[in-house]
Structure formats: structure tokens, C-alpha cells
Symmetry: C2
Subunit: 338 residues, 2 copies
């Protein structure tokens, strides 16, 4: 099967990631951004939205033709779901069950049955999503969970790297993130606080932006995070790579500089056939941003989900079980089987 048409993509959420995805769509001629929704409105155009216009506006209400709605996701999918091949979920994830509840609502209140991917981070959030697997399969939907950078890009690379070993003893993800302006990534930085000692989800949820900012100032804008509850553990277990206790995720987030305080790496350690221990390392370019490493892979998983659906597959998949699909304008579009 050869994909010859643009994939029609919708983005749910218009924070840093959602806007980043819109900007990325502007540079990808295999993708047509047809829909975007925020908390106040949705915008839809079957011929394609202007991705840079939706990325730049302060609210979707300002976009020409946008439909004001306090229930924008449901209203969008009821009206236009059949014209959207795939959805990228770029919503805030507080509380931890918010994505699962949103997908449950989509299942209950709309007939949407395209592809969906999320960039969830927390293990508990992905676990909540697993509870929907039967409904997702029965609807004929393909849902791929954990399609961001970590989990997603890095855990999928780890699942490939694992192949050299007869036993994987440790997968260690250590990331560096630099954000020039923390306010562009409020939701993400808030989530990071969940991994700092002494903060509970309820506390973080109750903090004002000023509270977050004051807390950041205490640490000179640098957050060092260890043993984060990241779903890379669950997703690598689902792919059969190793049990989840062998996966650790941590890193450094600099909220005062766009430069990464450390290069992002994933180190896959295992036992070889001859009984030796060795580590493969995948190191990301410092020139790539969180948006590059979240939105690019998310699009690759969306395209992979589209191919799965074209093959009459449905169900809930872990990103680690799916080869993301890359399509360049300069080469013929990819065929799963030639």
C-alpha cells in the first residue's frame, strides 16, 4: 500500500507543544493541519488551516472562521471528525487521568474513529489510558500512547537498541532541556514539579504561576530531576524489552536558557551472548529542541497509525511497538510493503 495523500491532522491543545506541532506542519508537505482546538474555540478547514497563523494567535478565537465553544474538542469532532485522519493530543495532563477522561468523552460523545497519539509522560497517565483498550479497539480506532520524546522517541530507540543483548539490565534516560521562557511551557514545567521531592500532584495543581516562578528562582531556574515517574518504564515492559524497574528517567531542565544544560542520552545496558556487559548510547543533538523531539516523532507515530488503520488494524499500541514513519518530500512516499 502506498500513501499518496496528505494526512489530515488535528491538534488538541494550543500550548507550547500544540503550537510547535502547528509550526512543524507548516514545514511538512506530507501533513495537512486541518483542525486545532483550545479551551475557548476550535478552528477547522478541510483545505488546511494556515499553520503559522494558528501558532501565532494568542487564542483560537482570533482565527478567522473559528467557532467559539467551551466544549471545543467534542464540538469539533462531532462536526468534522470524519475529515480528520489523526489527532495529536497536546493537552495539559493535570490531573493524571485527564487524557483518559478526554478520550473516554470522545468515545462516548462523538463517532470519531481516526488515529490518536499522545505525548503523555507519567506512567500512571498511560496506565489510565490502558483501561480504554477494549473500547478503542471496538471503535476501530488506532491509539498510540507515549509518542513524545520521553517516553516515545527515546524509548523506541531503546527498543531497537535492545536487540543486541540477550538480556537488557538497564535503560537510563538522562535528558537536558533548555527553555528560554518557562511560560511557553507552563503545563510541562508544572508536570516536572511532580518529580521534585516534597511536591504532590494536589499541591502542584493548586500552585499559582507566581508560586511556580518563586520555586524556580530558588533553584536558579535549574531543575534536576531523578527517578521520574515516566512511562518509558511501562512502554519498554510492554515491548518485552525489560521489566519496568530497570528503566530510570531523569535529567536537567534549565528554565532560564534555551541551551540544553546537558546532552540528552539514552543508555541501553545489557548482557551479550558471550556473557559480557555493554552499553549502547543514543545521544541527541543539542541543536534539537523539545518541539523537534516531541512533535517530529509524534507525527511519525501518527503516520504509522494511519498505515495500521489502512491495514484494518485497531487497538491501543505502545509507541515502543510501532516503527514511526518518516516521509520526505524529496523521495517517493513510503510503502509498508513494496
Amino acid at each position: 500500500m502506498v500513501m499518496t495523500q496528505q494526512m489530515r491532522v488535528g491538534v488538541l491543545g494550543a500550548g507550547g507543544l500544540g503550537r510547535g506541532m502547528a509550526q512543524l506542519c507548516a514545514q511538512r508537505n506530507d501533513i495537512r493541519l486541518v483542525a486545532m482546538a483550545d479551551s475557548q474555540a476550535y478552528a477547522f478547514d478541510a483545505q488546511g488551516l494556515d499553520p503559522l497563523a494558528v501558532a501565532d494567535c494568542s487564542t483560537l478565537l482570533d482565527v478567522a472562521g473559528a467557532v467559539p465553544s467551551a466544549d471545543s474538542i467534542i464540538d469539533l469532532l462531532k462536526a468534522h471528525g470524519s475529515q480528520i485522519d489523526g489527532l495529536f493530543m497536546a493537552l495539559p495532563n493535570l490531573p493524571v487521568t485527564f487524557y483518559a477522561e478526554t478520550v473516554q468523552m470522545i468515545l462516548n460523545e462523538t463517532g470519531y474513529k481516526g488515529v490518536m497519539v499522545d505525548a503523555l509522560k507519567r506512567t500512571k497517565a498511560v496506565e489510565a489510558m490502558l483501561g480504554l483498550k477494549d473500547q478503542i479497539r471496538d471503535r476501530g480506532m488506532v491509539y498510540i500512547t507515549g509518542c513524545g520524546a520521553t517516553p516515545g522517541f527515546l524509548s523506541t530507540a531503546a527498543a531497537v537498541a535492545a536487540q543486541s543483548f540477550v538480556e537488557v539490565t538497564e535503560v537510563k534516560i538522562w535528558f537536558g532541556v533548555g527553555v528560554a521562557c518557562w511560560e511557553d511551557y507552563k503545563a510541562t514545567i508544572r508536570e516536572d514539579f511532580l518529580h521534585m521531592p516534597g511536591f504532590t500532584a494536589d499541591q502542584v495543581y493548586a500552585m499559582t504561576d507566581a508560586d511556580i516562578e518563586a520555586e524556580l528562582a530558588k533553584h536558579n531556574g535549574l531543575l534536576e530531576l531523578h527517578h521520574m515517574e515516566h512511562a518509558d518504564d511501562l512502554l519498554l515492559e510492554m515491548a518485552g524489552v525489560c521489566s519496568r524497574d530497570r528503566v530510570t528517567v531523569g535529567g536537567l531542565v534549565d528554565t532560564k536558557s534555551p541551551n540544553k544544560p546537558v546532552s540528552t542520552t539514552v543508555t541501553i545496558t545489557g548482557r551479550t551472548m558471550s556473557g559480557k556487559t555493554g552499553s549502547h548510547t543514543f545521544t541527541l543533538s543539542d541543536a534539537t529542541t523539545m518541539v523537534d523531539n516531541v512533535c517530529g516523532p509524534a507525527l511519525g507515530f501518527l503516520r504509522a497509525g494511519h498505515l495500521l488503520q489502512a491495514d484494518a488494524k485497531s487497538g491501543l499500541f505502545a509507541s515502543t511497538q510501532v516503527m514511526p514513519v518518516y516521509t520526505l518530500a524529496s523521495v517517493s512516499l513510503p510503502a509498508v510493503a513494496v
Copy 2:
């Protein structure tokens, strides 16, 4: 779908790679080695061969119950093909069309319709295989080509890594290989000569082992290979990552030491959304051998092919289009869709 049974695997060829695969099977309880064939005989046992016994014998004729045959592959598959889920092709690849001719023979003379994977290296060899795509699909077979280290493991890692970039400008594979005893890898080392200046396929095919050894001695056992004709280029093009002229493969082979003269790396360079240029790097552990990085991934692709076939898919796939499947004894067996 959940795989609950061992996959029954046959190995065609009993050189360094074929024997390495047998040794690996001994450590993988998700795989049962049921068949092996060399130029003089085949061995088959539905309950499983003793992998270490077949890896150690000087000829399969010495294995208890082996069947002498000058046409061992065809005779094996005619007699027992329906009891073999997947085949790893570990044959010498001189001339360059030998694999394609062998698969054509299997299609013509046997009813085999399981999974097949190869560890082909040369672009022309994979191109010859592509000519069989319609026959492979019509037979209901799943054939995954280029499932070794390079192409295969490294090019698949590159296809994942590509996801961060809006354009991939270069994929550079630079490998280090150390072999203690070149005679264990005669066929592979011979193929390397095809990439040395001044050697044609006909010349290499005509060289005796003594000729090869004399040539190696001239270079103190170290072969430096540049711009090798490796199918990573074709396979990354098939996956839509970049046009084949952007992929280069080279490296250092030390034929006098088991230690790698340089760490094996794949560097994926591309343009980011914001217009910057960056490179991701995947570096292999020096503790992993050619067998670890060829046979481990080949098993991962065999299992992936088995899952594709269970989903009623058939056809010829590039390794770069397929997520290899890893299964550890210590965790529950993987489900493609949960």
C-alpha cells in the same frame, strides 16, 4: 494478539553467522532452533535441535539424524517447511544475485510460506531481491530484507532518529569490527574486498583463501573501507528518510584482533524545524560483537515478521519499515496491540 509459543526458526548456512545464530538461540527461550542447512546436509528436529551441537560441528553431516543432501535447502523445506515459522538466511553472497536466486528456487520448488529474513549487505543484492516482491506477496510469505547490523540494526536506528528532523541531510555509518580469526568469517571478509579499490566481484570470487590472506597481510590485517556499496542507502530511501545518495557506509575491520579498532556509530544529520543543523549519534558498545549486532536484530525482525504474518500481512519489507520485536523470558511476552 499475544505470542505465547516459541517461534520455530531455521538457519540456512553454517558459516560464522549461521553458527552464531545457533549459539544465540541457545540463550533465547522464545526461539526454538528446529532446522539448519549447509552445503552438504540438513538437520531438522521439530522438538528443537541442540543449538550448541550444530554450532560446534565441523559439518552438519556429523549431527545425529542429519540428512545428507547436495540440495539441502530445497530438500529441508520440501520435507519440513510447514513446521518452520521463520528462516534466517546466512549464506555467502557471492555472486550478488545468489540470495535472490535461492529465494526464487525456494518459491519455485517448495511450498514454503513462512517468514524469511536476510542479512544482505550490498545494495545490488537487495535490489535483486526487490524483483521478487510480487511472487513473495502472492505466496503469502513475509520477507524482510537487510536485517543484519548494517544494513538492519543501524539503519533502523537511523530511521527512528530521523524523526526529529524536517530534512535528513546525511546518514553516516562508520563501523569497527574485530575478528580474532578471519577464517571464521571468510564469506564476510570476502565481501569486504568488494569495497576495496581495485577489486571486482569476479576477481574476489576467483581469489583463493591464500590470496585473501596474502592481501590481508599487506595491510597488517586492517581493512579501511569507504563509500561501501551497502543497502542502508536503499533501505533508508524505501523508508522515506532520505535519498540514497545521502547515506554513506564505511569503517575499519581488524582481521587480527577480536577488539574493535573503533566504536561503531551511526550519525544522523538533519535540519531542525528552526533551521538549525544537528546530528544525533547512536554508538554501539565495544563489548558487542558482529554476531550480537547481526543475529540479535535478525531474530527481532523474524519475530516482527511472524507477528505481521499472524495479522495476515504478506510481502517484501525493508528492515527500516519494521519495528524489531524483543522478547525477554523475564517479562510477559509482547502483544502488538494490548
